[in-house]
């Protein structure tokens, strides 16, 4: 019997009441994050990947939002907790890394002040000890000369250095789970490599689990153990990373993987997914991907359930035999 997962998300649904009707930003999302596991959530803009995470932490505060389902963290239901109850969790046992390191830090205080505030809040250390811990953390995330940098303001750091500060902050209270929302999207590729490398190293040191949200399949392949592919608020495929990139099953995942221009080969044309992302306000009645899918059938008017074996599930009506023929046909010409 494996140990219980650190995070268990069941049937998470987030909908917003709008004048045009209910907008389902997240629709029946379920996944687990094991101890020391890195789970990647991948999807394009509007797929609901950020809203899903924010709703778990009580950060979706819009009055017209309805959140249902269950989110168990260390066995305890955290969905619907009050701000006061969530306080020790947010920034304490769950650390957050946001996309834009400039907006995640306040420009009017030194980075040291911001780190010390958080450390004192969660670990109840005296001021001097908290400052010592802040300097230690800045050193750990690779900021040169942390003793003097601790008294600098965010604008005095480069983008990559700022993201390091944000990571230091997320780690400051030894979180069990780190949630990173597009942590490297705003960064250059050499800086991205530094940050991803750092995250992997620290994950090893701290034994924490990570949920990484990204639109970049490459980042997923580099980081994640398991992947959740989202489309229009719904999970369409969940699998181990290597299974997903080598044996993708859902037509949307095929499209996502095939559309990436590659470094190792030059093709005359990129394979594309036709059309534009669907509006979550008027989703088709069945499979949300059907209007853009090249293999749509009559059955697709009904919503396909997530099914498969324990390690690899997807939501599509295509039979195994059909998928094999389609993939063989697609892969042949290249």
């Amino acid at each position: 019997m494996p140990e219980a997962p650190l995070l268990q998300v069941r049937d998470l649904t987030v909908s917003f009441a709008t004048r045009q009707g209910a907008l389902r930003a997240v629709d029946g999302l379920s996944f687990d994050v094991g101890q020391k596991e890195i789970v990647g959530i991948v999807g394009e803009s509007g797929s609901g990947k950020s809203v899903a995470i924010y709703s778990m932490l009580g950060l979706v505060r819009e009055k017209n939002a309805t959140i249902t389902g269950s989110v168990l963290f260390e066995g305890r239901e955290i969905l619907g907790l009050s701000d006061k109850e969530l306080q020790p969790i947010r920034g304490g046992s769950i650390g957050m890394i946001f996309q834009d390191p400039m907006t995640a830090l306040t420009p009017v205080y030194t980075v040291g002040w911001q780190l010390v505030e958080q450390i004192r809040q969660h670990l109840h250390l005296p001021k001097a000890a908290a400052r010592q811990r802040a300097i230690e953390l800045l050193g750990q995330v690779g900021i040169p000369d942390p003793k003097s940098r601790v008294d600098r303001y965010p604008h005095e750091f480069s983008g990559g250095m700022r993201q390091r500060v944000v990571i230091a902050m997320a780690l400051s209270c030894n979180p069990r789970l780190l949630i990173a929302d597009e942590p490297t999207t705003a960064l250059d590729v050499t800086t991205q490599a530094q940050i991803l490398d750092l995250m992997l190293k620290l994950q090893d040191t701290y034994d924490s689990s990570i949920v990484i949200i990204t639109h970049d399949m490459g980042v997923i392949a580099e980081m994640a153990h398991r992947v959740v592919v989202m489309y229009a608020g719904r999970p369409v495929e969940i699998a181990r990373e290597l299974d997903l990139v080598r044996h993708p099953r859902h037509p949307y995942t095929w499209g996502l993987l095939d559309a990436v221009p590659r470094l190792d080969a030059k093709h005359d044309r990129l394979r594309t997914i036709r059309g534009n992302a669907v509006s979550p306000l008027n989703l088709p009645p069945g499979c949300a991907f059907a209007p853009r899918c090249d293999y749509v059938m009559d059955q697709c008017a009904q919503r396909p359930p997530l099914q498969g074996d324990a390690d690899h599930v997807d939501a599509c009506w295509l039979s195994d035999a059909q998928r094999v023929t389609i993939r063989q046909r697609v892969e042949q010409p290249s």
């Binding site: 250059d188 800086t191 490398d197 639109h215 221009p261 990129l270 394979r271 534009n276």
Partner: protein, 336 residues
Amino acid sequence: MSDDVVLQATDVVKTFSSRGKKLGTRVVSRAVNGVSLEVRRGETLGIVGESGCGKSTLARCLVQLSPVTSGTVAFEGTTLTGLSRRRLRPFRRQFQLVFQDPYASLNPRRTVGDIVAEPMRINHLGSTSAIDARVRELFSTVGLDAAAVNRYPHEFSGGQRQRIGIARSLSLNPTLVIADEPVSALDVSIQAQVLNLMADLQQEFNLTYVFIAHDLGVVRHVSDRVGVMYLGEFVEFGDVGSIYETPLHPYTEALLSVVPELNDTDAPRRERIIITGDVPDPADRPSGCPFHPRCPVATDLCRVEKPALLTIVPGRQVACHYPRNLDAVKATSTTS
């Protein structure tokens, strides 16, 4: 100079001066520091580099949107730098820009039909009805519904807006299109659509492209030749396939090694070279080679003497005292 060169830049320098830290002082940033290039008719020249390397500034200098500090830019043999605005005007029709942000580059208060028609109106290209017909034709060329001309930019998605920007750039039948990060704001599935569209248009209208991007996969896909920029200079230049297979400059090598790849085949992946530190401030350039403070193979020579951009084999140039993969590059050059 052979006549198939559309655009030629020679030793282009662009500096910006800004207030220094001390009161009354000025600091000068060399955003583009002596760039020379030739764009050949019908090709796609890719320019790749990280943020702040000067690639967008270079684009603006090439199309005379910002005056160069020194150096020359010539279009089909005519020197553009130094021409008055009036004398420049007839040339401007022949090179057009496609911008990065499809949200910021379209006026939200005008219909998309107006936006595409404007360059033709300014240049008095035909009657109102002729322009209208041309706008509709352009819309279908870029894969948009011609009935959408009376709608406003906010009614379109990012990918559709970028198609509108492309339609506008084509409205004057340009020879050269300079695209500055045209797909970096788009989702990957939409990005692929726009890249395919740009390839189709290039064939159909015999266009020459300068394609600026930070995404190495995208640049590989679209380009015939590639220039790699670092701190306002080309550090490497060459044919796309050979650069990606056997990079000469340590910076190019490191860049290529850290692009996250899908390990969907059993081919061994490149060894990752993670370069440390950040890009230096262009106002405070390092001595010698601009890359030496971050270079894994730098020596004392690199700190003192700046390497020139030299041709190693035909079609491959590099500015480095210690080029990588030298034997492989020379071997493939002699066999082919």
